[in-house]
């Protein structure tokens, strides 16, 4: 909201500099976003001087050498001047040595073409008073010699652009802000006097012009007042009013309309003036709009209304959208002579809804939807009538037409001063509390040993409870004076969330593996999502109200973002090829969308600067290892889950070169390997992409459990090797699992197969087509004794027999 300093000064003395006032407003809770000063800045050493005579400069045709009188304190000085618009005897602004002009131009004693000059006579532009740079600023009215120029050219103003928080509608006006400053500086606030109006009984009847006002929807409009003024003469408003309105960005229109705008920004009360001729039947009804009723508002737009909206209507039609904007059909025109002035209180919720639904916000709706003080309507009416009579003439008529009644706004709050101190946590005396409240026009109507009854002014709709008064006390006491203290650290016995812990471990691991962490947007484009994979393209991840086409969907994976980072780095030739990201992703599982914790990494095979020594490139198994470790940080052993090969081109992964572990019941998804070469190419990325990701439902992440020590055998192991010929499509892990089961039975608990691992895979010569050999090493060990060869051999025999009889595997000799 724009607030003019000159306007404020109509109600309160403010000798402080604009900067100081801005600081005070900020500490009162009205943050000053910016401030703009017009007129002269504060200038030191720029004073009034008089040209006593002018000689031609000996060496420069265009320069004059002047003798200038600068008052008794300084005397006469010689000044060289290039202007030509002045004559001897003119008084002008003179910058003497030491002055700093706007733009940082410093004035010092200097020589101009060999002649000493003791300062500079100034143009308007040079001292920041307007744009005229053509010649010296000739001062009117012969101001005293030596007077600071700021005391002569006082026409200046500062406009503050301030933020008024939604709880303070009472401050959406100059009087409201002045009231706050009066409390802050402890100064008198002078409200405009409106006692020169004719008393109600002395007013001529206006009934011929306007008969009555009534309200059909009292909930939306609890109070409506209409006043008739006849015989006004429409014309421009006075200069002072135009200046003030212009200063806060309003365009002057005519005297009556300007008065309504002026009073709105003075008191915070929206008003509206109707041309009385246009009120059919001379009656106003505040009613709900009819469905699809139309009205052309003052901004030239035809508005189609609905029945929840409220209009100001005559017998035939809507004249205004209540509380939001007037209609063109009844606006004040050049030939208007009689007007009906409306001042009302509308329900904030109604106006907010109407304004939002119509997409139409005005200075009026802005105030009504935040809440206007209902008891201020009479003052606002009087003030507007007064100003209209002053600026447009005419006669105010009676009686005032009033519909509805003033809502009760009187409030009292019980406050204990001990409670205030307890909440504040520091010593603040009864007197300081009293002072703060009273400066804000609150009245302590009863007191009983620190228990007070506080009467709240009608305009403070935001104050209902003692806690609200605490804020007021602190505000006037000075929130910048709230003392600091020792930190009291309550121990809650909690740990960081498992998600946090998991993220830390995962990030630290990947950083240690030379990956750079990236952060990408959660919202992705539909095209990207559609092209990712067939299953993703079917997921319902769209937003209801996206802001742009490239950000319509929740991300299903971190990899698209990582690929984007890779592409950017590749095109900028930064040489970076390894990136990872941690964050939330979304998947649809069985008709429901779930949010998952995810970590993903990718390395591009191209893009690094050439090196004097080559390292082996990452492959599927590097990615698998990483995915396994990352899952491990989440407490998940992905070796226990079924791993599926990527067998077709329907995914973002390369057929035959990647794998997926997807277990919705366990709430995990892991993918790793080589990314789909064609899709990567389609994304305009050169090189192979070895990547992986692991995602888990947040509720499946648990704090790490304490480990229980497991004793281990001190006796030596015995190893047996076995090579099996199996189908090429058989997964090695399935082979291992089968043997494990068989071995468990074969040893029958007498001892155990401690481990089994694949040490060779072979296909080719010596094996039938479509077959491969999987060689495993089995390690047996007992926890009680050294195993005898015989018992191990017996078990090994048994295992082989079972394999021969019960499996499709063939033992290779």
């Amino acid at each position: 909201m724009k607030i003019s300093l000159n306007w404020l000064k109509r109600y309160i003395d403010l000798p402080e500099s604009p900067k100081e006032i801005a600081d005070s407003l900020t500490l009162l809770g009205f943050e000053v976003d910016d401030m703009e000063s017009t007129g002269l800045p504060q200038l030191e050493n720029v004073i009034v001087g008089e040209v006593l005579d002018r000689q031609q400069h000996p060496d420069a045709d265009k320069l004059g050498v002047c003798r200038v009188a600068l008052g008794d304190a300084i005397g006469e000085k010689t000044i060289v001047c290039g202007a030509s618009n002045y004559k001897v005897g003119d008084r002008v602004p003179v910058a003497i040595p030491g002055a700093v002009l706007p733009g940082g131009f410093k004035i010092k004693r200097s020589k101009l073409r060999g002649v000493e000059s003791d300062g500079m006579m100034c143009s308007g532009k040079e001292i920041g008073a307007g744009e005229d740079a053509a010649g010296l600023l000739i001062l009117e009215g012969r101001p005293e010699l030596g007077t600071p120029i700021n005391a002569v050219l006082t026409e200046s103003d500062t406009v503050f652009n301030l933020e008024v928080t939604p709880n303070r509608p009472d401050c959406l006006s100059h009087l409201g802000i002045a009231r706050e400053l009066a409390a802050w500086y402890q100064r008198e606030l002078s409200y405009p006097a409106v006692d020169n109006l004719p008393a109600p009984g002395d007013r001529p009847s206006g009934e011929k012009i306007f008969k009555s006002a009534s309200v059909e929807c009292e909930e939306d409009c609890p109070l409506y007042r209409a006043t008739v003024i006849k015989g006004v003469k429409i014309g421009p408003s006075p200069a002072w009013m135009q200046d003030l309105l212009s200063s806060i960005g309003l365009r002057p229109i005519n005297n009556v309309v300007d008065v309504t705008n002026y009073v709105l920004h003075e008191c915070g009360n929206p008003l509206h003036a109707f041309d009385a001729r246009d009120i059919n039947g001379s009656k106003i009804t505040v009613r709900n709009a009819r469905e699809c009723e139309k009205v052309v508002t003052l901004d030239d737009e035809e508005r189609t209304l609905s029945s929840r909206m409220v209009v100001i209507a005559d017998d035939e039609r809507a004249l205004a959208v209540a509380g939001v904007m007037g209609g063109q059909n009844s606006e004040v025109k050049e030939d208007t002579t009689d007007i009906v002035l409306e001042v009302a209180y509308f329900n904030p919720t109604t106006i907010r809804w109407v304004s939002k639904t119509l997409g139409l916000s005005s200075d009026s709706s802005y105030r009504f939807e935040r809440g206007v003080d209902p008891s201020s309507l009479r003052f606002a009416t009087d003030r507007a009538v007064q100003l209209i009579l002053e600026t447009a003439g005419g006669t105010v008529c009676g009686p005032e037409q009033v519909a509805g009644s003033e809502p009760m706004v009187e409030k009292e709050i019980e406050l204990s001063t001990d409670w205030v101190r307890a909440k504040a946590g520091f010593e603040i005396s009864d007197e300081e509390i009293r002072d703060s409240l009273e400066r804000l026009d609150m009245v302590i109507s009863e007191e009983n040993d620190g228990d007070w009854l506080v009467n709240i002014p009608s305009y403070r709709g935001d104050l209902d409870r003692p806690i609200d008064l605490l804020e007021e006390v602190l505000r006037i006491y000075g929130t910048d004076k709230i003392p600091s203290g020792a930190v009291v650290a309550t121990a809650t016995g909690e740990n960081d969330n498992p998600i946090t812990e998991f993220s830390r471990r995962a990030a630290n691991y990947l950083v240690g593996q030379h990956f750079n962490e990236v952060v990408n947007y959660t919202l992705r484009s539909e095209g990207e999502q559609q092209n990712w994979s067939e299953s993703v393209s079917r997921m319902a991840l769209g937003l209801k109200n996206p802001i742009s086409e490239d950000q319509t969907q929740l991300r299903h994976s971190l990899l698209p973002g990582i690929l984007e980072s890779l592409r950017l780095n590749r095109s900028r030739k930064t040489g970076a090829t390894r990136f990872f990201e941690l964050g939330r992703v979304f998947r649809e599982v069985n008709g429901k969308v779930v949010e998952m914790i995810s970590v993903a990494f990718a390395e591009c095979s191209l893009g690094r600067p050439r090196s004097w020594k080559l390292r082996e490139a990452d492959d599927f198994f590097t990615a698998k290892n990483r995915a396994t470790l990352l899952a491990g940080f989440a407490g998940i052993d992905i070796g226990r889950f079924k791993v599926s090969q990527i067998v077709d081109d329907s995914t973002a992964w390369q057929k035959g070169q990647a794998a997926v572990i997807d277990d919705p019941r366990a709430g995990i998804l892991a993918e790793f390997g080589l990314m789909n070469l064609e899709r990567i190419k389609a994304l305009d990325i050169e090189g192979d992409m070895v990547a992986g990701s692991f995602s888990i439902l947040p509720e499946r992440l648990k704090a790490a459990k304490r480990v229980q020590f497991q004793p281990f055998s001190l006796f030596p192991p015995t190893a047996k090797d076995l090579a099996l010929v199996v189908d090429q499509s058989e997964l090695a892990n399935d082979v291992v699992r089968s043997i494990e089961k068989i071995a468990q039975k074969a040893t029958q608990g007498a001892f155990a197969m401690e481990s089994i691992y694949v040490f060779d895979i072979y296909e080719g010569e010596g094996l039938p087509a479509g077959k491969k050999s999987v060689a495993v090493s089995m390690v047996f060990r007992s926890s009680e004794r050294t195993l005898k060869d015989k018992e191990v051999n017996t078990a090994f025999e048994k295992i082989q027999n079972v394999i021969r009889e019960k499996t499709a595997f063939e033992i290779r000799d």
């Binding site: 009291v488 309550t490 740990n495 969330n497 030379h514 930064t574």
Partner: protein
């Protein structure tokens, strides 16, 4: 005989120089002490030596054996040294760079988040987490935000379609799903789950329907804090934030509170800081956080008795803090992920 032994040793000395690998060594060794070796032959002639000469002869042979053994040892050493030298190759040039990738790095936003968490952990705050998809109840209603508050508008907040169904984001009743506009929803869910004392910070990603520019981003990161206990005061809030900002921005950092308004706190403040460590900012007050005492209505919505408990909450933007402490002037750098940006924070 004496002469013979001397010749054997001399020959060994003369020939050992040509022994350059293990095979040659074995041949060389066999030629001297092998079954048919020259020294073996001499030893075998022991039987023909007169009895009285045998001790002397034996002693001489032993001496020769020792000499030959010494030659063997030195030859073996030389071979091993040569083998190692070959295995290791020429000396390295230590000035060459490692061919491994450049160091990895944590994103600056992660680093700032971790630093904030670390400082708050010192004073008893632990990290709480929540989902990025939230419902209108937990994001607005429970936080005392009026039904028609502009923050709820489709203009300002991202909503999910009306028929959206989230498996792991619980609703209060049939309110709408949205992308959280702040992490205050985590505070509500934490309070609903437990009893005071509560002392948490909740860092996380938030969303506002802003157009991207130098200071706005489609998503951003925030950290909020909440402390609920008996007898928590405004001064405690000031003390905590003073401690935090001094730890974060250096000794001599000061903060000031300015009155403000948030629906979920009363009284509410904005926090400015001033720090001589950040020369770019000069001596002015710089806005950095919002805070306040938890609004009694918020306690009511989570079933805490406002007569018994009090508390405070605060919140700040992680991007904004990162921009201030690292001197970054455009928020978009954080989301472009240019390596020349990222590696500066490695």
């Amino acid at each position: 005989m004496e002469e013979e032994l001397k010749q054997i040793v001399d020959a060994a000395n003369a020939n050992v120089g040509a022994v350059s690998n293990r095979a040659a060594f074995e041949a060389f060794k066999a030629g001297i002490t092998g079954p048919n070796g020259s020294l073996t032959k001499v030893m075998k002639s022991m039987g023909q030596v007169a009895k009285e000469d045998r001790p002397t002869f034996g002693k001489r042979i032993n001496e020769a054996k020792q000499q030959v053994q010494a030659i063997y040892n030195s030859a073996l050493e030389a071979i091993e040294a040569a083998e190692i030298a070959e295995r290791l190759g020429p000396p390295i040039d230590p000035s060459l760079p490692s061919p491994d990738s450049e160091p990895g790095s944590l994103h600056p936003l992660t680093q700032v988040r971790e630093e904030i968490s670390r400082i708050f952990k010192q004073i008893g705050f632990t990290v709480a987490e929540g989902t990025e998809v939230e419902t209108e109840y937990y994001c607005f209603d429970a936080l005392n935000t009026p039904k028609d508050h502009p923050a709820r508008d489709l203009q300002d907040t991202f909503y999910l379609p009306d028929d959206a169904d989230f498996g792991n984001v619980s609703k209060k009743s049939d309110e709408r799903y949205l992308l959280r506009t702040h992490t205050s929803s985590v505070q509500i869910r934490t309070m609903l789950k437990g009893e005071p004392p509560i002392r948490i910070i909740s860092p996380g990603r938030c969303f506002r329907r802003d157009t991207v520019d130098a200071t706005h981003s489609a998503n951003f990161h925030q950290v909020e804090g909440l402390y609920v206990d008996k007898n928590v005061t405004v001064r405690d809030l000031k003390a905590i934030l003073d401690y935090f900002f001094e730890q974060l921005l250096g000794k001599g950092t000061t903060t000031r509170f300015r009155p403000h308004f948030f629906p979920y706190t009363e009284p509410s403040f904005e926090v400015d800081f001033s720090s001589s460590h950040l020369a770019k900012l000069g001596s002015d007050w710089v806005e950095i956080a919002g805070c306040g005492m938890v609004e009694p209505e918020v306690f009511a919505s989570v079933g805490y008795d406002p007569e018994v408990y009090s508390g405070f909450a605060f919140g700040m933007g992680i991007e904004r803090i990162a921009m201030i402490i690292y001197g970054i002037d455009d928020i978009r750098y954080f989301y472009q992920n240019d390596h020349r940006f990222l590696k500066q924070f490695a």
